[in-house]
Amino acid sequence: MSKFFDKSDLTRKDVENIVSETLNNCDDGELYLEEAKSESILLDDNKIKSSNYSSDIGFGFRAISDEVVAYSHSNEISKDSLKNSSANLKSTLKSSKGTYNHEIPKTNNKFYDDINPIEQKTLDEKLEVLNQVNNYLRKKDSNVKQVTASFSGEQKSIEIIRSSGEALTDVRPLIRFNVSVMLEKNGRKETGVYGIGGRQSYDAYLKNDNWKKVCEEALRIASVNLDSKPAPAGEMKVVLGPGWPAILIHEAIGHGLEGDFNRKKTSAFHDLMGQKVASEGVTIVDDGTIDKRRGSLTIDDEGTPTERTVLIENGILKNFMQDRLNARLMNAKSTGSGRRENYKHIVLPRMRNTMMLSGNHSQDEMIKSVDKGIFAVSFGGGQVDITSGKFVFNCTEAYEINNGKIGSPIKGATLIGDGPSILKEVSMVGNDMMMDPGIGTCGKAGQGVPVGVAQPSILIDKMTVGGTKL
């Protein structure tokens, strides 16, 4: 349990005393300890380009008084280092008169096993799969000019020590397997990327030659793009496919519903609670409790058990996502959304697995209803300006729709929309909800955390497509 102090000059009692004494007059705070073991193995250009193993250990000490957060972190787990941090926190919160909130919910649920995925497959076996991927793709299509394939795996162990000496722990496995392929035909080059992952062993994802499916999907996307024409420019109807395109929900709605931006009133959504922000039939949840998913957590990085938070129910805005700090200041409760990239960063309210639930239309129906528009199947990434509400995302596989029929593939283009109004433009919600393949990383304030998204196919009546063809 107290493996963090094994090699240090600290006893558990010493640590508890320093934590309690530092947080004495504070409203909240904790000592967060983390040990991460990670690996990345990369095949590129026919060779194993890199094999890296990393082991990182450190603590982050946080004290909160009213709205003010003091934070100090270090790699050195020692009495001196911890006392230095404590002094640093106290100097920021000189006149603090808070009352420590000891309440923290408990859970017996676990959404993943205490495994170290790195050790569950030997390096030889991993190298073998990467070489198979390379050979398979190059043999399958003579237009393949470049193949990149990678494994990344991690085991992160955390412990949170609160003012009372109460300790909360979690062991989090995470893996990702990725394939990128570049094709060249008649002087034209295009790439296709696909990956899978989550909080299980590599083999849970790669069994039954599943890696071949990943290869084929990357190859398929690249092949489609080889024949793509310039994308249109202007406002039009957009049909989004199920699964990964839900990064639209993540960017357009998700970030704007994070507690911090709403407490600070800098989100375009801050005064819309209880109001209609989406078409009827649109329900969006953020769920940290789905078994072994990339965005799931047993407890968040403040120790709060995660939950399924209903953000929008049948078009009405119901809840924001909260960490402890923002919940306290907004008279709400933490939704188990307090997350940080690692011990070097402060906690922020973040998304976990953000999902739009199924409706009752078919994708066919949506496409048939469109005279002129685009059908977007796969995406690169997105970004949002939470204050103006404007968001973008980049298509990596899309087609034009003409008179209710899917036409030629179009080149990658950025789509732009307005977060608070885009969901009112949703005129059909599909019956085909699907999770993404487990590859998403969300960035906020310089911190990346693993997340998931899901949605059914949806029809958006009006969005601006940023192509070059007028």
Binding site: S51, A70, V392, T468
Partner: protein
């Protein structure tokens, strides 16, 4: 206090000795320490303080042409021993790669120029708070500003790079940065904008009053934006985003993208890719430069490069591994460009605004719509409509798109270059891009 050179050197030589003893034919180590202290303000009161003390070591071991690497933040000898043993064992079973090697000895940096990258000044948190108070005071004078957030960060770093060919060097550097983000609101919209300053030396940063004033003015100007019609338009890139086009150029000429064949600029050496008025320089030895370096991340000395001369591409950014693959010598650019910039153009900003009678002046782009394989470019944008040289009204919820091959050829530069970042550009004018709006 950050760890001194002696401590870092002792860790580096411990690792090199151990790797050699285990049987590694070559090894290289980077070990560094960085301490940063920051204070954040919001609406004129303290919001957050953050102190960060980070140690990091990364080790590469070679057995002939086999290579693997480890990294850690735990510098205890006992831990390093376990990791180096693991690294050595992994190297043994990693396949050969003929291009893996330490850099050639004759191009390693021999002298370390003093580029004045370290300022020993220390600003107490209380002094940082004074700076931010003054900053937010000016930032929030206008009633339309409803929220201000600002921050001050002081960072000091030290590192040593050592390899088994006898290279062992490093130096301290510092940075002092302040930023202000303002939110303004009127009856039609809520908008956000920012200003920031970052320098190696404390005395060189912008004064707080000015920083707050610029952030506030830039934000208020964006209120009540309109969406414009789709069409072909001339685009003007404000300096703070113009540098993004140069960064994309730098990624496209990195030797790794060229060696892998995944760049639209592959095989373009001695080809014209910009108009003949354009020169691009990468200069590592600018005194106090934000991207300055005495050697690259492999220890190779880096000289100034004229990457683009009168529109013609002259050089790639080459490291040891990809250089060998391409039959080129490393030019000390492992880790990318250093201080990269366009040389000034011939016209002033007023003249640039009048090149076309109707153009779009872009101050911010969002999204990752840059495809370096094809050169295709499509991003979300906000800015201002410019007619006959005058700013008319703010514009948002539009995209701008084109392809770098044509965009680069159509660049006209103003003569307002400043050195604020590691990548710097004068204001850029590009004709004939596509705007998607209404």
């Amino acid at each position: 206090m950050i760890k001194d050179q002696e401590y870092l050197k002792s860790k580096a030589s411990y690792c090199l000795d151990l790797a050699k003893k285990l049987g590694a034919t070559d090894a290289s180590v980077t070990v560094g320490n960085s301490i940063s202290e920051s204070v954040n303000f919001r609406n004129k009161s303290l919001d957050e303080s953050n102190r960060s003390d980070s140690l990091a070591i990364s080790i590469e071991t070679y057995i002939g042409n086999k290579k693997s690497s480890i990294s850690s933040s735990n510098l205890l000898d006992k831990n390093l021993k376990i990791l180096i043993e693991k690294c050595y064992e992994t190297t043994k079973i990693t396949p050969e790669d003929e291009f893996n090697s330490l850099p050639d000895k004759d191009i390693l940096a021999k002298e370390i120029k003093n580029l004045n990258l370290y300022d020993n000044s220390h600003l107490d948190n209380d002094k940082k708070i004074d700076y931010l108070k003054e900053l937010e005071q000016t930032a929030s004078i206008d009633k339309k500003i409803i929220n201000t957030e600002s921050g001050f960060t002081e960072n000091k770093s030290n590192f040593i790079l050592a390899n088994s060919d006898g290279f062992c060097n490093g130096y301290k550097s510092s940075s002092f940065s302040a930023s202000c983000v303002a939110v303004a609101k009127d009856e039609n919209s809520m908008e956000r904008d920012y200003e920031f300053t970052s320098k190696c030396h404390l005395n060189d940063i912008i004064d707080p009053k000015n920083l707050g004033k610029i952030a506030s003015e830039q934000t208020i100007k964006k209120l009540s934006p309109k969406k414009i019609e789709s069409g072909k338009m001339s685009i003007i890139f404000d300096k703070r985003i113009a540098k993004g086009l140069l960064s994309s150029f730098a990624s496209a000429i990195s030797s790794s993208a060229i060696a892998r064949g995944t760049s639209f600029l592959k095989d373009k050496i001695d080809h014209q890719i910009f108009s003949e008025t354009i020169n691009i320089i990468d200069k590592p030895d600018i005194v106090k430069g934000m991207g300055s370096q005495c050697f690259d991340s492999e220890g190779v000395k880096s000289d100034s490069l004229k990457l683009v001369d009168c529109g013609f591409l002259k050089d790639y950014l080459v490291d040891t591994y990809n250089g060998k693959k391409l039959n080129l010598k490393s030019n000390g650019r492992s880790g990318g460009s250093t201080n990269l910039y366009f040389e000034n153009g011939n016209m002033n900003i007023e003249e640039l605004l009048r090149i076309d009678n109707r153009s779009l002046y872009i101050t911010e782009t969002i999204g990752h719509g840059t495809n370096l394989v094809t050169g295709d470019y499509s991003v979300g944008a906000t800015g201002f409509l410019v007619e006959n040289g005058e700013f008319k009204y703010p514009v948002n919820e539009i995209t701008i798109a084109g392809n770098f091959n044509e965009m680069f050829k159509n660049i006209t530069l103003a003569n307002d270059l400043e050195f604020r970042y590691s990548v710097n550009s004068p204001t850029i004018f590009i004709e004939g891009m596509t705007v998607a709006g209404k």
